[in-house]
Amino acid sequence: MVFSSISFIYYFLPLVLIIYFIVPKKFKNIYLLTFSLFFYFYGEGKFLWVLLLSCIMNFIYGLLIEKYRDKKASRYILFIAIISNIGMLMYFKYINFFIDNINNIFRINIPFIQVIMPIGISFFTFQTLSYVIDVYNGKVKASKNVIDFCTYVTLFFQLIAGPIVRYVDVERELKYRKCNIDEFAEGITRFIVGLAKKVLIANELGSLISSLYDIPEMTVLSYFIIAISQTLQLYFDFSGYSDIAIGLGKMFGFHFLENFNYPFIARSITDFWRRWHISLSSFFRDYVYIPLGGNKGSVLKHIRNIFIVWLLTGFWHGAGWNFILWGLYFAILLTIEKYFLKSFLDKHKIFGHVYTIILILISFIIFNANNLKEGLIFIKSLFCLNKLPIYNFSTIYYIKSYLVILIVGIICSTPIIKFIKKFFKNKKFYVLGNALEVCFTIILLIAVTASLIDASFNPFLYFRF
């Protein structure tokens, strides 16, 4: 089930909420767990066992590591845990990618395996991995309660599209959490804003992109608009999902860390990655980059570490060469920034913004390309190297049709709205500001509902993650 659907907002959510606040405290977790499993089952019936296996397996690993703490055995268990978690991910997500490449290299014909990737496996595998490693490192005590642990892994808000929540961050709230009306209301606002980002902006941009691709004759301008739209679409879709997860979390008394922080106002690629999908980049920082030695040691070692982390980050996004290339692209840029460009970018802020935006647009062309050739054609066309017309009637027609959405999208990807809200926090306008906020939130919900009822375009972009 996706969040941006009538069935979620008007069937699943009211049911969950009503019963949740009636159920006695003791049973709240088991209740959340049951509903989360149903949530997963509803969309991915066949793969519920994968999720359950992952939960039970890692719960046991945690207990065993705790039992053999400071003994050699705990190392072996950690090793088995990492292998089995990664192994599961490899099998479901990457096996056919590997078979395809082995076939191509050795010119043999291993048949493909019929396997469908269970939704969200990349997210929950990383959550359980972070748990076992944290237990091993003594950052957190192993969970003694299987219900609590499974609730943590399967919580429906973050199960299918992140953010990657660490056990350390919610350990206390699994046992003891308070709900008050202020946080509940904050959660509602966040939830509705997330829905609006996904339904009113990302989906519209998605349909603009497919309309532009449908035009028989492509133009430079259409490539340019596609490049901007797909970057914005990814941001609004993904950050919208994170907002929904964070908002729902708040409504139920959980506090998740932020996942996005206005990435497009970054002044360098390094800065961008501190603002984009924070839970993923910090996962790779804490569990790969730092254990490898980080930036300590020789320059060569540091560069090696950057490349390992970014190849993995790229590969995590999907089983395809374009994702690996995408990771490599960032590894190169980040290395250049660390060793050459840093002081220059710090001094020339405007240049920094322009440079970052252009490189980000190009990166998402690689990210979205179905294969390398397609990506190359795209980039060549964008720089007028393919002898395409600059624009034509159809391109202008669609740009006119979606101009308001594009402008709204660009404005909402900057902190402008945050500043406006801050302005209204001023005592003079306090009441007016609050009244406007409530009205606006409810209007957004109504607009989202209208949009979903007549939905022709509502893709789930993360089926590859």
Binding site: Y10, A185, I188, P216, K400, A435, I442, A455
Partner: protein, 106 residues
């Protein structure tokens, strides 16, 4: 105060719609769209396992939503007057007539 108003309106909205959707009788036909509306899916083990019930339920939930017609009108209104879209689901207005767009040519 603000938080109370927001919470209450949100709860009324989602729980109210939920109740209305359950208690108001489903319709067979949509005259404005000239088609049959999806019925509540019959529940079978197979349908549950292969996910076809989920798909049917998605269609059911949007087809049988209360005030469906009004919401669709609202969306068309937003798209036409606020977003200034040139066409709505491939239909556009030309000299006071609604015309269907035949594009891209296939």
């Amino acid at each position: 105060m603000k938080n109370k108003i927001l919470t209450v309106s949100f709860i009324i909205m989602i729980v109210g719609m939920f109740m209305l959707n359950i208690f108001i009788k489903d319709r067979d036909l949509s005259y404005s769209e000239r088609r049959h509306l999806t019925k509540f899916p019959s529940i079978t083990i197979n349908g549950l396992m292969d996910g076809s019930i989920s798909d049917e339920f998605e269609n059911y939930s949007t087809d049988q939503f209360v005030f469906r017609e009004n919401f669709i009108k609202l969306k068309a209104y937003i798209q036409h007057f606020i977003l200034k879209k040139q066409d709505i689901n491939g239909l556009f207005i030309e000299d006071g007539n609604i015309v269907k767009m035949e594009y891209p040519f296939k």
